[in-house]
Symmetry: C2
Amino acid sequence: MKIPPRLYIALLHHPVYDRRGQVVTTAVTNLDIHDISRSSKTYGAERFYIVTPLEQQKALVRKILRHWKEGPGALYNPSRREAFGLAEVKGSLDEVIADIFERDGCRARIVVTGARFSAGVIGFEELRRHMASDGGAYLLLFGTGSGLAGEVTGRADFILEPLGNSGGYNHLSVRSAVAVVLDRLRHGR
Amino acid sequence: MKIPPRLYIALLHHPVYDRRGQVVTTAVTNLDIHDISRSSKTYGAERFYIVTPLEQQKALVRKILRHWKEGPGALYNPSRREAFGLAEVKGSLDEVIADIFERDGCRARIVVTGARFSAGVIGFEELRRHMASDGGAYLLLFGTGSGLAGEVTGRADFILEPLGNSGGYNHLSVRSAVAVVLDRLRHGR
């Protein structure tokens, strides 16, 4: 087993809520792939999974990744190529978990993130301590749309405390949230 | 003088370097406006300035802001409206400083951010202590392209230590960097 604990990131486009609380599949956003790949690389995450069940969306993501990993983008911007090396598309959370098990040898502990949680959450310091003492693989789940659906949050080993000021305005983009969560887990607070 | 110290954010599209070290004007990116407005609001910044000298770009930004502040976007997404209430376009750093002086009554201390600095930088904890003890207005400058040009960094009261791991991969998007810097200044680390 490798030390330190390994962080994996997944961005889910399904199942997530829309603003009315319906479970939907959101469209992939190009800049999410760029920004979260760069944050994953900067903070030393092992892998970044873009999760969508839609075949056309999966093909689109693969095309974008190919452009920056092997196509003209790789020559134009080598640091982007390095970041995109961590990114890949998967059809479901189960596929992500299976892939991590195959790569890592550990069943990943599932850490759910979101802005709406309050009861039963784990703080950043507590999660850091857990990671430092137990080691293993940790999969951070981020939702698009209006957040991860209940069928995902129900599978959490940990629900992470929300960022921002509780009760106040708290509407970071998912791109910003990933960067801040990684910064807190890697640099403490 | 108001307490606590006030944070202002400016995103500069000129003068910044391109990847060959030439001073250029970059194009405004729509998602920068969204993400940085949302981060500014979440972390309690006073104002977010989008800075470009190009009249057509200024008109474009004003059109985007109008859509979310007064147009269809304001009804569709009230929280976005709230965030965009902090955002406005300016033609230069001098215009930003003048605007802050007019609103705030203080000359803003200029805090330059960037990934390439090493000598003479101030750490996050030190800047936090400075802000807590001295109060006043602080203007955080973020560059697009390959970073703020020398004529801007030369005006810094403080140069903030880079994010990420020194020497390693360190290529956060400016959207991510703004969120992490605000999180560190507001919540410590």
